[in-house]
Symmetry: D2
Subunit: 210 residues, 4 copies
């Protein structure tokens, strides 16, 4: 976020922006890369093609290095009986009613047999799901996070990753949003307080070194 | 966020920005209004005097209307043994080590006997605390949120309020931050996806009508 | 638990066994009433026909009084990638792999359109699910709990109901188990520390009075 | 539980009682070993001296092997404003009001500087606390559990350890209760479905081998 450059120094001086360790047992978490954001007919359609391509590259590298890959999606019972206040706040979430084509995964990245799919009703991949238990039981210490959207489910998931004890590494160019401003503003907050924001290149190097 | 005015229409058209109901059993949640942000000697000192004064007015009105008030604070064992990755990411959190003067409440607002104090180690007031249980057991349906800082613990707490089933109403002028840009950017995200962002005047009217 | 009669007085004297209030917004939670326990071909088959019939009566009464009914079931990805340590501890849980006939609901009780189905991977209906958020968002204050099995998912769900702020009323004769001893031992613990254990008759009267 | 010997075979045949792995990064969790259970003047006083001595031996061995030790205690604001329904269900919990002598640790085992103390309001050490985050951030995979009481906070904590992804090993002779019947009944359930129930000798051997 160019217009926040001056803040970076201010934050660093105040004692934000420490560095999280990249652990020895990373996993890749692909947040909500689903058709609702890719299909021009969807109300949630957003300019995220580049981010999705980067997410696919991240997933391919992880598979090649035997790094686990986990996917999230959103799913509601028709009408949102299990959607609580989030379904009421964001009417567009009806896109994710059971049976809607918008809830499905695209061709790439898409989960393969044996890869975990987390079905969620809220923004955070950890909230109301067994993701934290799956990560802890699997010995995961670090989560490379990509997906959609930066200011929504990606940020909520990255903040919770930290709060649940898993070091979040957010792959900036593999995250997308409706508009560059919330994208950048949220990456700024994440780097300052909750996560390491890295490039796809950096992520690929780290995966290759596992 | 003036520079995001164009986004508001875009988001509304996409199906964000629905309205949450203001319930019949509200509570006020005062997030981290502690000396660390108010004392010029603290690394976390920020220009939040106006926000704190507004929070004090909100608390006074709530007490007058018998609306419960709950306070959060941050506390770590010396050295951060219970601080996990958050304590490592944000070195300034050492301000909240047990025994530090920065962790205390200011003169106003400050908890009175019988008011709940939530002691937390992470950003969200709900994460790793019994807040959700206290709210549910008390029949609370709506949380008026104020405090510090907007881009940090306020946002994390508001997102979680929604995710735990309590309608968050964020009182904009009773929230403060280091800089107006993250403050505004986060209020924009909150209003779009997670909460109702309201003014102090609006909050006072709602409390008077309980 | 006849052999624990002497303990009841001891516990009461020690300050256990207080009474929880039956609220004004109850819901019925039907825990894991699925074919795995009813089909003689299943490794988990148990003598629970009477309990299931009582659960069906409870559900019918709730529907007649417009009291919400929520159902839980267990579901794993084939091989248990999302089952963590529970799937490893209890090999019989493979009954609940996606596609297994044992995971389905019987004819009665069975969810109707619009009734919430909680899909879980662990014992507690609250653990790794959005149940607490759904109950809080719906204003529920009390949960009438029935289902299978008393010493497993029923107890875990009842303890968590209390821990999340919803008063658990466990309907004893609508809960079943493999053997009467763990059934009784767990009802004893629940009544002593976590819940009100009531009869089906009592539950039906309470529902009729809502 | 001698009278449940026949059930052990029945459960094993049904597919319960699988074995959890003892990991490479264990920690010891000492649940609620506080004066309320040890002081004859306390309503919660119970015959747990042998269990507490065994817990002290377990803690000493862990420290000798550099295995982390974490302690839990219960604490409420005076009157229980933060105690929710649990405080209402169990009036004896007023023993743990802030300022009560019953909430303190005995001479041995007692936390040393740098050892984590989890302050909780509910039965499970994981519920409403940051314990899971601390364990995950520390890379813990296995939790050796001891303390008070078996049918209450020990069981609730062991079930949650499994549900959060940390293998629970319950040290039977380092757990105590008011009466041997609930003690045995709960150890039976734990071994069948949630944990490995082991002896102190076994635990000491495992710690020595870390």
């Amino acid at each position: 976020m160019a217009e926040l450059d001056d803040l970076t120094a201010d934050y660093a001086k105040a004692g934000f922006s420490g560095a999280l360790p990249f652990g020895r047992r990373p996993a890749v978490l692909v947040v909500d890369v689903v058709r609702a954001y890719l299909d021009p007919a969807s109300p949630l359609h957003a300019p995220v093609d580049d981010a999705v391509a980067a997410a696919a590259a991240l997933v391919a590298a992880a598979r090649g290095a035997a790094v686990p890959v986990l996917f999230t999606r959103v799913l509601y019972q028709p009408g949102g009986a299990d959607g609580g206040l989030f379904y009421r706040k964001v009417p567009a979430l009806a896109c994710f009613d059971e049976g809607s084509p918008f809830g499905g995964f695209p061709a790439d990245p898409a989960p393969r047999p044996g890869e975990v799919i987390i079905t969620k009703q809220y923004a955070s991949a950890f909230c109301g799901t067994s993701l934290a238990a799956t990560l802890a039981a699997g010995g995961t210490d670090t989560v490379l996070i990509c997906g959609l959207t930066t200011s929504g489910c990606v940020r909520a998931s990255a903040v919770d990753a930290l709060q649940y004890g898993f070091a979040p590494f957010v792959v900036a160019d593999a995250c997308g949003d409706r508009d560059p401003r919330p994208h950048q503003a949220n990456l700024f907050d994440l780097q300052a307080k909750y996560a390491e924001v890295i490039t796809l290149d950096d992520a690929l190097h780290r995966i290759a070194a596992v």
